[in-house]
């Protein structure tokens, strides 16, 4: 994820080079898919989220500002698409927010995370706002400032949520031992 390379790819995309956009997709699909999956907790829906997010990115690439990392800009779109998916699903199915992974068929290949069961359960118990800051900070090494940009909230709020989320996870793991 080299910033110079990203900028070259964006410039090429804006000139109509779709192969350049494909390079962006291949570079960032994994972390963005991880974020999407951790929100919607369903393989198929996470793929839908990612498709929508990248399409939105492609349509709005002209608005991307070099002052932010491309990854952060892409990341900004993903949680909103994921939340749109959740809200749409709730409208139709009235779910309480407990999503199960989709069933895997015989010819599907899906690499499972190595997250321990306890940590996975604890993460799922966090509300989305708290889960997001954990994902951004711990899974994808985003700074407070980047998280503030991605989530469109002040740095102070980022820190407050992150510290609270960590404490909540800690409590869940300690008391579930």
């Amino acid at each position: 994820m080299n910033e110079e390379r990203d900028q070259r790819l964006v410039d090429a995309c804006l000139k109509g080079d779709t192969k350049a956009f494909e390079q962006i997709v291949l570079s960032y699909q994994k972390p963005l898919y991880t974020a999407a999956y951790r929100i919607v907790e369903d393989q198929d829906e996470a793929e839908d989220v990612l498709q929508n997010a990248f399409i939105k990115a492609y349509e709005n690439l002209g608005t991307y500002k070099k002052s932010h990392k491309l990854f952060s800009w892409l990341y900004r779109i993903t949680p909103n698409e994921a939340l749109n998916t959740i809200h749409a699903k709730k409208r139709f199915e009235g779910l309480s927010g407990d999503y199960k992974s989709g069933e895997k068929t015989g010819d599907e290949v899906f690499q499972e995370s190595e997250l321990s069961h306890a940590l996975d359960s604890a993460l799922r118990e966090l509300k989305l706002d708290y889960r997001l800051v954990i994902i951004l900070n711990h899974f994808h090494d985003r700074s407070y400032t980047e998280m503030s940009y991605i989530l469109n909230i002040p740095v102070k709020t980022v820190k407050s949520r992150l510290f609270t989320a960590r404490n909540m996870l800690r409590e869940l793991l300690v008391h579930n031992k």
Binding site: L26, Q29, Y37, E47, Q51, I55, E108, S113, S116
Partner: protein, 262 residues
């Protein structure tokens, strides 16, 4: 004396590597005298280590191809839209008439885009894949399977079918550049899309009238999707070409044999 919030801030910043040397030293000193906070800090640090060890999940291979297919469809629709309006502008119509003409052309564009990719033009076209939704895939059953071996090619082809679609999965290894030509009855099947599964990237397939060609070498896997447009469907013919010469031919069924056949 430090407040709880101040200590939590120091501890979290320590985990994030953001404390100055002085702040780290003050935290360390404080924790020595407050074992409950020291335990909390150890637990937070362990948690951070645990979370940091989590690897990203890997999406399925077709995802990038699916995304790029959508991008290319978007590009095509925008290009056609621009072309249509360029034509209108060149007519030097009055604004109201321009708007009406644009609206009419836009309606035609929307109607044409609502159909699946590909038409029955005799000209060869480069088309990229189309996404098949999860429900359609789950409904499909295998109706035909065949091995393709010989002339430097080794692989298998499987046909799956739902009520409305046929999906042909191709998995091959070619020791030299080879073209696979898939021939089908255009009165029974309509080409919908092509997905390069192996490379997880978009690959062009040449689609002509009632046939599709894909050229590759080495390991390759892709899927071709057809809409079923007739109650009866014939077998699909698979030909391996070396240049223009057919070096291998197979056929694959698109319907399960009737239980009455003995």
């Amino acid at each position: 004396m430090k407040t709880h919030d101040e200590i939590m801030e120091l501890m979290n910043r320590e985990i994030d590597g953001l404390n100055s040397a002085d702040e780290s030293a003050r935290l360390s000193e404080y924790l020595k005298g407050h074992p409950d906070y020291a335990q909390m800090y150890d637990e937070l640090r362990d948690l951070s280590t645990m979370l940091g060890a989590v690897e990203d999940l890997t999406p399925r291979k077709h995802l990038a191809a699916r995304i790029m297919n959508s991008v290319k469809e978007l590009d095509s629709s925008q290009h056609e839209s621009r072309s249509a309006f360029d034509v209108i502008r060149s007519l030097n119509l009055r604004p109201a008439m321009t708007f009406a003409a644009g609206l009419a052309l836009g309606s035609v564009l929307i109607m044409s885009l609502s159909k699946y990719a590909g038409d029955s033009s005799a000209d060869a076209k480069h088309l990229l894949g189309a996404f098949v939704d999860r429900n359609s895939l789950d409904e499909m059953e295998i109706v035909g399977t065949t091995s393709v071996i010989g002339e430097g090619v080794d692989g298998s082809v499987t046909a799956k079918r739902s009520e409305n679609m046929i999906l042909v999965n191709v998995s091959m290894h070619a020791s030299r550049e080879t073209t696979l030509r898939m021939k089908y009855n255009a009165n029974e099947l309509r080409f919908k899309g092509f997905v390069d599964v192996k490379n997880a990237s978009s690959t062009a397939a040449e689609v002509g009238s009632a046939e599709l060609r894909c050229t590759f070498s080495g390991e390759h896997a892709y899927a071709v999707i057809f809409d079923i447009t007739s109650p009866q469907t014939s077998a699909i013919t698979l030909e391996m070409l070396n240049g223009d010469q057919v070096v291998l031919a197979q056929s694959i069924a698109t319907v399960l044999p009737s239980p009455d056949i003995r």
